[in-house]
Symmetry: C2
Subunit: 399 residues, 2 copies
């Protein structure tokens, strides 16, 4: 298929305009892979890693035996042969020159770019997905944001509450204002609140769509997604024209989880799709945070589930989100370190009446020597005072 | 001092009425220790364990050398001598026959009981406090509740919110209705809501007071504490007449933490005294839970701190509180296990129009064989149907 693609003037011309770079064959091949394979197709991913995109394409659509795949599958030749046979059946119905050409031309029309591994703006974080890594990314807007640091993925329920949107806006606004790239999914609810807050402080934000970057989904976010494409970046794995199917939403979640240095779920129902993103983040070893909420709110049930079952860290502020990456969580200093005798002695004293050392010893159960020693210290600290009538406490200086 | 106490007819008579048991000497000695030593006095606790209460009392107030204590302090004779010298100075000013007699008579007057180690109703859970274990407990009400199981300690802020009180009432009511003893501190706010909810479902509840059981503290809870003394148990370590000092509040917290099979903090400010109780529970190895709340609520900041810094488990319901003891937390099943091809295929189908296998293969990127195989399964599951015009999805049977 590579020969046909590279012989097509329109395809090559569109690819050149998209890329301004030399290796047109690789770019065209990767564009073709985004057309032919669904996101996360591990057989495609393995072939790409083994053969490179162009050779993988020719191999995939040809009739050669499965040897290149078998070597990557620990030599299980039978399993590799079966997987390749199945995959070829998936890919072939989609392997049309016209579809690839359309994807490239359409991207050109809307001024999108094709970012591929090896590009300066390719986020190597996605390579952690191994065989499930995307073959390329279609991007509208500032491709450099894909490699800006730090990046945090803020996700949550579409059916969010006012509380959740408020917290999302607070946290996203604070983080974006201080240079963190806000990654999310462009959806209603928490996603939208996070994107908007980042835009509101002239911060950077990335929206990963499940369908093509030419499609503003959901429809009610047409304006928001245009704004993100102008000031930030709108990114997708399937090509222009691709519909946002349920599968692509699930597959898209892994990219959000992989791109963020940490993932934070701000509000999520018990079965929210955000938990899928959280699961990917945890599987990738990315720090995972969850914002708690009222236990009476169904919109927080998924977050509490993450805290209980998934070892997510409880985060309540932008500062605590920052602690998820790099900075270590401060060790606990919770056990109250009080001097019990000091507490007892102050308890036993009043600012309105005087007492002798002997009287204080009786009241506190402390030895007179101990009372005397502590009164001296408290005197130095300005907590107590002695006059002719005995010792008394001084009125508190602070609250 | 023991001879003097046992020679005092009024003291012995009061002790007999309180106890209906034989070992009056031990009971009188322990009553005396609650008068002489402040709660949590480790030197007193060590002497009691080494010598028994009666001999410890005579030893404590005599002039014998520190040998019995030294053996319990790993033979550090110097440290033992110094500790005992200090302790004797604390104890002697309080060692008055009259004070012990008053404590016993006063308890009799209000129908309180003295529960001591070895009694059938002595909660052995408190022995986990080792040298800080109480020498005895003064109890108004149903002493048998101290050994009823299971027991859970529900504590929280005095400055609680409507949300916190609601959750405390929900959780305490549910637990108490199903036989769990609710342990708390009798304070305003969360404590009060928990006690009231337990009483409201005719459940069992125990209030640990910082002062004597004859004193209803806080004053506004006079009626509540009377109700607890009638239907549940009001318990204190210091004797009748003792004032609730700040030190005694802190010391009382260790008893709440030790008595509960688990401790749950329902609402707590950043520096709430409930965190002290939580710290004791954690130090004792008791399971610790915290109820989350809005991150915008200062009344939940301490709970979130417990989740972040203290490894408390997030609990949102009575059922999750029950999981804290005995029952293991279910392992996570969060990662969505979906059959991706199944999802893709259903995505591509409609209940309003028909499609052929070939059309579905094109739409999904699946091989025709795969489409056919999955359609067969989905047909069996009642998800899809074929007729003359092709395959279509059936309307969803459930939400």
């Amino acid at each position: 298929m590579m020969d046909a693609l590279l012989a097509d003037a329109e395809t090559v011309s569109a690819a050149r305009r998209l890329r301004h770079e030399d290796d047109i064959a690789d770019a065209v091949a990767r564009a073709a892979w985004t057309v032919i394979a669904e996101p996360g197709d591990a057989v495609a991913g393995t072939l790409l890693r083994e053969l490179g995109a162009a050779d993988a394409l020719d191999f995939a659509l040809g009739d050669l035996p499965a040897r290149p795949l078998a070597s990557a599958m620990s030599g299980d030749a039978g399993a590799a042969r079966r997987a390749l046979t199945e995959a070829r059946k998936r890919w072939r119905p989609r392997a049309e020159l016209r579809a690839v050409r359309d994807a490239l031309c359409h991207a050109n029309d809307i001024d999108a770019r094709l970012v591929t591994p090896g590009d300066a703006h390719w986020p190597v974080a996605l390579d952690d997905l191994a065989a499930n890594a995307p073959s390329a990314l279609w991007v509208r807007g500032r491709t450099e944001l894909l490699v800006a640091e730090p990046r945090v993925s803020l996700v949550g329920a579409r059916a969010s509450s006012g509380y959740g949107e408020h917290v999302a806006a607070e946290i996203a606004g604070d983080l974006a204002a201080t240079g963190t790239v806000i990654v999310s999914g462009g959806a209603y609810g928490i996603d939208g609140a996070a994107h908007r807050a980042a835009l509101g402080v002239d911060g950077a934000t990335i929206a990963f769509l499940a369908g093509g970057v030419d499609r503003s989904y959901p429809a009610g976010h047409q304006q928001l997604i245009r704004q993100i494409a102008e000031a930030g970046a709108v990114v997708s794995e399937p090509p222009c024209g691709a519909a946002p199917t349920k599968w692509r939403f699930l597959a898209r979640n892994r990219l959000i989880a992989a791109l963020g240095h940490a993932t934070v779920v701000i509000e999520a129902g018990w079965r929210s799709g955000s938990l899928n993103t959280a699961g990917h983040a945890a599987a990738l070893g990315r720090p995972l945070g969850a914002v708690p909420g009222p236990v009476t709110s169904a919109a927080s049930a998924g977050c509490h589930r993450l805290l209980r079952e998934y070892d997510a860290l409880c985060v309540t502020s932008a500062a605590e989100v920052r602690e998820l990456w790099g900075m270590s969580v401060p060790s606990s200093s919770l056990r109250t370190t009080v001097d019990p005798e000091r507490v007892r002695l102050l308890d036993a004293m009043s600012s309105r009446s005087h007492a002798s050392v002997e009287e204080l010893a009786r009241r506190t159960g402390l030895a007179p020597d101990q009372v005397r020693a502590r009164l001296g210290l408290l005197d130095l600290e300005g907590e107590v005072r002695r006059d002719d009538r005995g010792w008394r406490r001084l009125p508190a200086q602070r609250d």
